[in-house]
Symmetry: C4
Subunit: 254 residues, 4 copies
C-alpha cells in the first residue's frame, strides 16, 4: 500500500504535496519535449542521413518510456485525486487515455513504402504529443482572461486591420495593376503584398515599381505601425488593469 | 398588421428587442461579406478560369437577395424606429437608399468589351457594399474616442516620424547618392528606402552598399524602433486611462 | 498705428489673441511645407524633366514670399511681444534672422555647372527651412518631458540592445564566417545582418545559409522582439504616468 | 598616505564621494569601449588593409594602459571599500583579477601563421573586456526586477510563441512541402520561414508560392502581431506598476 501511495504521489499531479512537478512528471515532460524535437528533426533529410539507426532506436526507446508511463497511470487510476474511485477499465476508455494510446502508435516504425503525404501526416500527428504538456499548466488562465476581457476591442482592431488591408490592396491594384500585373494584377495578389506590409513583415518578393505605387506603399507602411500599435496598446492596458486588480484584492485580504 | 410588426422587428435594427442582430440582419451581414469576398476573388484570373458561369450566377443571386432586402426596407420604412413617420417615397430618395440602389447596379453583368480600367473601377466599387456593415456597429466609438483624445500626441509623433524620415533620407542621399544612383540618387528615392526601414517593414529591394551607408542605415533602423514605440506607448496609455475611467464611473454609480 | 497693431497681431504669434495661428502665419507654414516638398521633388530627375521652367519660377515665387515675410518681421520687431523694445537693426543681426537670410539665399537659381556634390549640398540645405516650423510648436514639450524622465531606463535598454547586437554578431561571425565570408566574414559585416534582424527590419540581402547559422538567427529574431518591446513598454508606462499626473493636478485645482 | 587615499578615491568606485564615476574610471571606461570598437573593426580586412601598423601600435597602447590600471588596483586593494583589509596577494588570485590578466594577454600581438579559427576566437575573446563595464553599472536592477517579476507571464507568452511557431511550420510544411521542397520540404526548413514571419523580420529569402500557401502565410503574419504585442503589453504593465510603486513609496516617506 505504501508503494501505491508513493507511486500515486509521483504520477498524479494533484496528489503531489510539494510545489511544482514531481520528479517522475518532470522526466515525462522532458521526454515529451525531446520526442517532439526528434519528430521535427526527423523530417529533414539533411539532418537524418547517415543516422537512420539512431532515429529508429530512439523511437523504440520513447515507445517503451511512454508505454510504461501509460501502464502506471492505469494502475494508479483508482487512487488518483483527479477522478476519485474510477474503475481502471473506465479510465482506459476515457478520451485522454485513448489519445495517449493513439500517440503511442505513432512511435511504431513507419514503412518508407507508404506514399509521401501519408508518412508526412503520420509524422505531424506525432507532434500532437506536445499538447499533453498543457495538462500540467495552470498559469495560462491569467493571460487568457486578460485577452478574453478585451475580446471586443481586439476584434474591432482586427476588423479595422481587415478593412485597411482591403482598402490598401484595392489602391495598389488600381495603381500598379496594369504596369505590374504579375504582382498586383488582381486584388488577392495585391493583398499578399498588403498583408506583408501592414504587419511590417516585408518579405520584399513583391514591391511596387512606379513612383505613385511607391508613394501609396509608403502610406501603407505608416498605417502598418498603427495596426501593430492598436492591439499592443489594448493588451498593455488589459494586463495593467489585471495586475492593479490583483494588487487591490491582496490589500483587501490583509 | 402583425406581419408588418414582425417584419419591422426583423429588418429594423432599432426595433429588435433582443440582444445582437435579428436573424434577417445576420443573414444580410453574411451575404454582404460573402459578396465582397466574391468580388475580391473575381479579380484573380487564376481562381476564376473554368468557373465563369459560377460567378455569373452568384452575381445574379446576390442581385436578387439585395433587391428583396431593399424592397422590404422601403416597405417597412414608415414603421421604423430609426426615422419615425417617414414617407416611403422620401425614404427612397434618401442618400443611404440611393447608395444601396447604386450598389445593386454593380451586380449587373459587366460587358467584357469595356476597357480594362473601367471594369476594374466597377469591380472595386462593388466592395463599397461592405461599408454598410458599419451601420450595425456601435462599439467602435470607445476605441475611436481614446484615439481622438490623444490626437495631438499622435500627430506630434507622426510629425517627428516625418522629420526623421526626411533627415535619414537626406543622409543616405548624400552618402550613397553618387555610388548607388539607382537606389539613392534622389531624395524621393532615398525616402522609399527610409520609410521601409523606419517602419521596420524592410523590403530589401533597396539597401545601401558602402560601409558608411550601412552604418547610417543601422542607425536609421534603431530610430525605427522609437517610431514604432512612440504611438504604441501613447495608445497603450490612452486605453489604460479609458478603462480606468469606465471602472471609476461604474463604482460611482453603485 | 492701427495698421501696425494689426500687422503685429498677424505676424507675431505671441500677439495673436485667438486660438491657433493667425491667417498670415498659417499661409507661411503652408509655404514652408510646400517649398520643402518642392526641394525634395527637385532632386529626382524623373519628376523634374520636362518642367525645368516650373521649378525655376516656383523658386522665384518662394524667394519673393519669404523676402516679404522677412521684411515685415523686421518692420514689426519693436512692437513684438517676443522681444519687447528691440531695435530693428539688432533684430536683423539676431541668429534666427541671419538663418532666415541664409535660407533665402538657397532659393537663388543654382548654376548647373557646379560640381554635383555642391549642388546636392545646397539643395539639402534648403530643406532646413522646415525647421522654422518648430518655432510655432509648443505641444512637443509634453512628449519630450515624458521621454526625458525615462532617459536612464531608455539608455539602459539601448545599452542592452548594443550588447545583444555585439553578442549575436560575434555568434554569427563564428558560425558562418568561414562558409559565408561575403556576408559574415567579419564582425562589422555580421553586425549589418544583426541590426537588421534585431530591429525586425529584415532586409534579406544577407541571411545565414548553414542549419546552425539559421538556428542562431532564429534566436536572434526572437531576441529582437524583446528589443522592440523594452522601449515600447518604458514609453507606454511613462505616458501613462504623465496623463495620470495631469488628471490629478486638474482635480486638485478644482 | 595622502596620495594613497587620493588614488583609492580615484580607482575604487565605492570610495568616490561625488556622484557618477571618478575621472580615472571615466577614462578606463572610455578605453574599454575604444578597444572593443577596435577589436570589432580589426576583423574586417577592408577597413584594416593599409593600416596594419596602426592596429599593432594601438594594441600595444591599450596593453600599457590596462597593465598600469591593473597594477594600481592591486596597489590600492588593502584600502578599498569593496573588500576591506584584503591581502594584495589574495586580491591578485581573485577571479576578477585573473580575468583581467587573461584579457591583458589578448592584446599581445597575434601571429598570423595560426589557423584562422584560432585567431578569430582570440579576437572575439578580446571583446569580453567590455563586460567589465557592467561592474560600474547599478541602475540595471530596476529594469531587471520588473522583467523578473513578470517572468511567469513572459515565459508563457514565449511558450505560446513556440507552439504557434510549431503549428504554422507544420501547416506550411503540409501545404507547400511537395511543390516547394527547397524551402518547405521539412519542418525545420518551414520553421526558418515561420520564425522570420512571426517575429515580423521577414527576410524574404523563403516565401510560399502557391495561393493556399500565401493564404496561410498571411494568417501567420497576422498572428505575428500578437506575438510581438503580448510581451510588449506585459512589459508595459510591469514598468507602469514599478513606477507607480516607486511614487507611492516616495509619498509614504514624506
Amino acid at each position: 500500500m505504501a508503494i501505491t501511495a508513493r507511486l500515486t504521489a509521483q504520477i498524479d499531479p494533484q496528489s503531489w504535496q510539494h510545489e511544482g512537478l514531481s520528479p517522475f512528471n518532470k522526466f515525462i515532460c522532458f521526454a515529451i519535449i525531446l520526442s517532439t524535437f526528434m519528430a521535427i528533426v526527423e523530417t529533414e533529410p539533411v539532418l537524418t542521413q547517415g543516422y537512420p539507426q539512431v532515429f529508429f532506436w530512439l523511437n523504440i526507446l520513447f515507445l517503451v518510456i511512454f508505454s510504461i508511463e501509460l501502464l502506471l497511470r492505469i494502475y494508479i487510476a483508482p487512487y488518483s485525486h483527479n477522478h476519485p474511485g474510477i474503475n481502471r477499465l473506465r479510465f482506459m476508455i476515457s478520451p485522454w487515455t485513448l489519445l495517449d494510446i493513439l500517440v503511442l502508435l505513432t512511435f511504431m516504425p513507419v514503412s518508407e513504402d507508404l506514399p509521401l503525404l501519408i508518412i508526412r501526416l503520420i509524422r505531424v500527428f506525432r507532434i500532437i504529443r506536445v499538447s499533453r504538456l498543457t495538462r500540467f499548466n495552470h498559469s495560462l488562465s491569467l493571460l487568457f482572461n486578460s485577452v478574453n476581457k478585451r475580446k471586443t476591442e481586439l476584434s474591432i482592431s482586427f476588423l479595422i486591420a481587415m478593412v485597411l488591408l482591403l482598402v490598401t490592396s484595392i489602391l495598389l491594384y488600381l495603381v500598379e495593376g496594369t504596369s505590374n500585373p504579375e504582382s498586383f494584377g488582381s486584388i488577392p495578389r495585391a493583398m499578399w503584398w498588403s498583408i506583408a506590409t501592414l504587419t511590417t513583415v516585408g518579405y520584399g518578393d513583391v514591391t511596387p515599381l512606379s513612383p505613385i505605387g511607391k508613394f501609396c506603399a509608403g502610406i501603407t507602411a505608416l498605417i502598418g505601425i498603427g495596426i501593430v500599435a492598436m492591439p499592443t496598446g489594448i493588451l498593455a492596458a488589459a494586463f495593467s488593469e489585471a495586475y492593479q486588480q490583483a494588487k487591490e484584492e491582496k490589500i483587501h485580504h490583509n
